[in-house]
Amino acid sequence: MDLSLLPEILASTIRLSVPLILACLAGLWSERSGIVDIGLEGKMLAAAFIAASASAVYGSAWIGLACALLVSVGLALVHGYASINQRGNQVVSGVAINMLASGLAVVLGNTWFKEGGRTPALSEAMRFMPIELPGASLLKGVPLLGGIATIVSGHSLLTYLTFVLVPLTAWALSRTRFGLRLRAVGENPHAVDTAGISVARLRYQAVIIAGVLCGIAGTFISTSLSAGFVRDMSAGRGFMALAALIFANWRAWPALAACLLFGFLQAGGNYLQGVHIGEFEIPVQFINMLPYVMTVVLLAGFIGKSIPPRASGIPYIKDR
């Protein structure tokens, strides 16, 4: 492996970390409001499926995105209803949503496209394609700058949007009325209630934001990262995002860093295939394992201790 590959690996890192970042932000909004969301994975998967299906049928990635958002928010509302109105177990609800999404995607995909649960391969118009930044091609070949151009340019609109959403999230949480109330409801819903603010309304808003972000993440997976849907293609990213969220202590900027780290592991892994250490060829299976092992290591807190929002996962009950 030589150093000249580095810009490409980093560009790939950015691409691979996009769904993680979006899912992580989704988890951040949800959990900061006190709703634990194990169902990020399922929402992303459902969105990936619907985005690919709708763009295949209607020929537009944008229609795909719109439909994906609808479905992802729909699932988010189911989770919200179970967690907020019914005060159900939030973890169980999330697990149920993951399963529903995984099953429905294949069942419906099979009915609609008869390709064993896949969607047809998407053409360029049906995808969010890379955008060359102006001037980037001029820099090709220039030392250093050329490398930077390779890293920064040539991503899809959704990627650039993602990198705007990180500072936006950080700003909204710390500086806006909505952010203040949302953080408060995740720590002490009683304080919010007695201040005359509706706990349920705030939590629904948070859950819907999570739905939107997962919708974008799913759309990105099937229409930008790949060109179509295959079963279970979210591949545990929702859970990695949760691990990154915990590692980031439920804050936006550290979450970005954690997700980029995961992205780098995946990107680097792809370039490691077939690499030998002496006589020994690293089996591809071990490379595939890496992000999951990394997740466990992060969760084990060997790198730092994190404190979740105090009210997360606990249904709000007005006591007397």
Binding site: R175, L180, N188, T194, A195, G196, R320
Partner: protein, 545 residues
């Protein structure tokens, strides 16, 4: 000094009034109480015919109450008299089934807390409604941000806080993180929150329960100033002395009803006490003189620090002998709970020793091993610790002793024996119903406590440590529990009793230790003057160490 005394003692001696008027007099001299300044004839708030039920509990029965503008109005009553429910209705937390709320003569509908706030009502809850990781400023502006961005509101609140600090002695660092503040300051933040939202009427629900004497004293000064500036204050408490010290008028509640209204100046502690409890049943426990034997438990220079490094138990030394009951008196939250935890092996001492029958059990740090040494423990919090609500009574009856070989050899747990033992113990301790298969959660408080007491006493311990044995327990059960504790003592066992009920400590104990701020302030005999114990509990006096 007088101020320190009055607030500290109040916490302990709620029901005793003989010497209290003297204290009220002292406050008077300090300017703590006086006539309402305002002679406004329109009441700030009127509650008319408020009625509220929770299932079978009739929490408020046709309550009518009028609160004068610019006064401090006390509402007094025992636990469960319906005071908090009434105020929660006024603050829009619950909705009355019947009745009307009038503010300045106008009927209003208060559907939620935001309505109440809009009508100028602010509430300081017994359990603070604060967001711990937030700064003081953020807590204050929550719900009153005034726009989509919080920047301007924070700036406004900063200015307002400076003003309030000046006007009412309400100093708090606006940038401090609330969770790191002591409770007294947290309470100030609660008051600031209400004032920032424009509260004209401030409701305080049992505000001194968590305060040190100093902090309580400061609070009363603030309330006085608020009243003098024309605000209306409603003070909910079950402490007579507070009522006498700072209120202008007082309403007494009993079993959901307002049973009496007085002008504070024209009433007395005795009159209020009688109105509060009705015809009072005095608890008398018959017992012979103790014949203490050898020392069973010796605590030496015991210190326990919490996660933040605060010494909750601070260099405590004492001993308990066979055949005696040693009572630890004190305002709740002064380290008694932590002391019990360390002795029971639930927490490990930071330094010092717990010598039980000649062996240092502090180093074990394991409740199972401590039990095996012959120590039994009735925990303070019976719901969360003493039993398991989902388990049936027979299973709760063996909690902590379930490894006992008599319940099954080796790994086995012989269900028939568990049930048989539970049935026998439940019958002996008069648990009703004596059904070992009934879920623990379904027993009343008193019966749950008997289940726990039976479990611990029947293990024939050399030392029983008991926390709050009769909290939330009906009179009949209290008497029973007290008798069993005396009986245990008369059988030559040692008992260490922790209770915030001074009555209970005095009637049961052979020696009384008083705890304050993690330290033992002194030791007294059972015949000691209440006032003397009160001074120790308030942390004012301390015996030479």
């Amino acid at each position: 000094m007088a101020g320190l005394v009055r607030s500290g003692i109040s916490l302990a001696i709620e029901r005793m009034g003989k010497w209290l008027p003297a204290f009220a007099g002292m406050t008077e001299k300090m300017g703590g109480a006086g006539n309402p300044k305002s002679s406004n004839t329109v009441p700030a708030i009127e509650l008319v015919g408020i009625d509220k039920r929770f299932g079978s509990v009739h929490a408020n029965k046709n309550v009518t109450l009028s609160i004068a503008q610019g006064s401090i109005h006390g509402i007094i009553g025992e636990n469960g008299a319906g005071k908090s429910t009434l105020m929660s209705i006024l603050f829009g937390f619950y909705h009355a089934d019947k009745g009307e709320i009038r503010i300045k003569d106008k009927p209003v509908r208060i559907k939620s807390s935001s309505d109440a706030i809009a009508h100028g009502i602010g509430m300081v809850h017994q359990h603070f409604m604060l967001v711990d990781p937030f700064t003081v400023l953020e807590n204050v502006v929550l719900g009153a941000e005034g726009g989509a961005l919080i920047g301007p509101a924070l700036a406004k609140a900063r200015a307002e806080l400076t003003r309030l600090a000046h006007d009412y002695e309400l100093d708090v660092d606006p940038d401090a993180v609330v969770g790191t503040l002591p409770v007294g300051l947290q309470q100030r933040v609660e008051i600031l929150k209400a004032l920032f939202k424009g509260a004209e009427t401030l409701i305080l629900d049992e505000p001194t329960g968590v305060l040190t004497p100093d902090e309580a004293d400061h609070l009363f000064r603030i309330l006085g100033t608020l009243r003098d500036q024309g605000k209306t204050v409603i003070l909910i408490t079950h402490k007579l002395r507070e009522i006498m010290a700072i209120t202008d008028r007082v309403s007494v509640m009993r079993r959901g009803e307002v049973v009496a209204n007085f002008a504070t100046k024209s009433t007395s502690v005795e009159e209020l006490a009688e109105a509060m409890v009705g015809r009072r049943v005095l608890l008398r426990v018959e017992k012979a003189k103790a014949t203490p034997g050898e020392t069973v438990l010796e605590v030496r220079n015991l210190t326990w620090k919490d996660g933040k490094g605060v010494a909750r138990v601070d260099n405590v030394s004492f001993s308990v002998r066979k055949g005696e009951i040693v009572g630890i008196a004190g305002v709740s939250g002064n380290g008694q709970s932590e002391l019990l935890d360390v002795i029971a092996g639930i927490a490990r001492p930071t330094s010092g020793q717990v010598i039980f029958e000649g062996k240092d059990i502090g180093v074990l740090g394991d409740p199972a091993h401590v039990r095996a040494e012959g120590l039994a423990h009735v925990p303070e919090d019976r719901q969360h610790r003493g039993l398991i609500a989902d388990f049936d009574a027979s299973e709760s009856e063996i909690l902590g002793w379930h490894r006992d070989e008599s319940l099954g050899k080796g790994f086995r747990l012989d269900r028939a024996r568990v049930i048989a033992r539970a049935r026998a113990e439940m019958e002996e301790f008069d648990v009703r119903p004596p059904d070992p298969l009934l879920k623990s959660a379904k027993f009343s408080g008193g019966n749950q406590q008997k289940i726990i007491l039976a479990r611990e006493i029947k293990r024939d311990p050399d030392l029983l440590i008991v926390g709050q044995p009769t909290r939330g327990v009906d009179i009949g059960a209290i008497e029973f529990i007290h008798k069993r504790l005396i009986l245990l003592r008369d059988q030559g066992k040692a008992v260490l009793l922790v209770s915030v009920e001074l009555d209970e400590i005095r009637s049961l104990s052979d020696r009384i230790l008083v705890m304050f701020a993690g330290r033992i302030m002194g030791e007294r005999g059972p015949g000691a003057d209440e006032r003397e114990i009160g001074l120790l509990m308030a942390g004012v006096a301390r015996d030479a160490a």
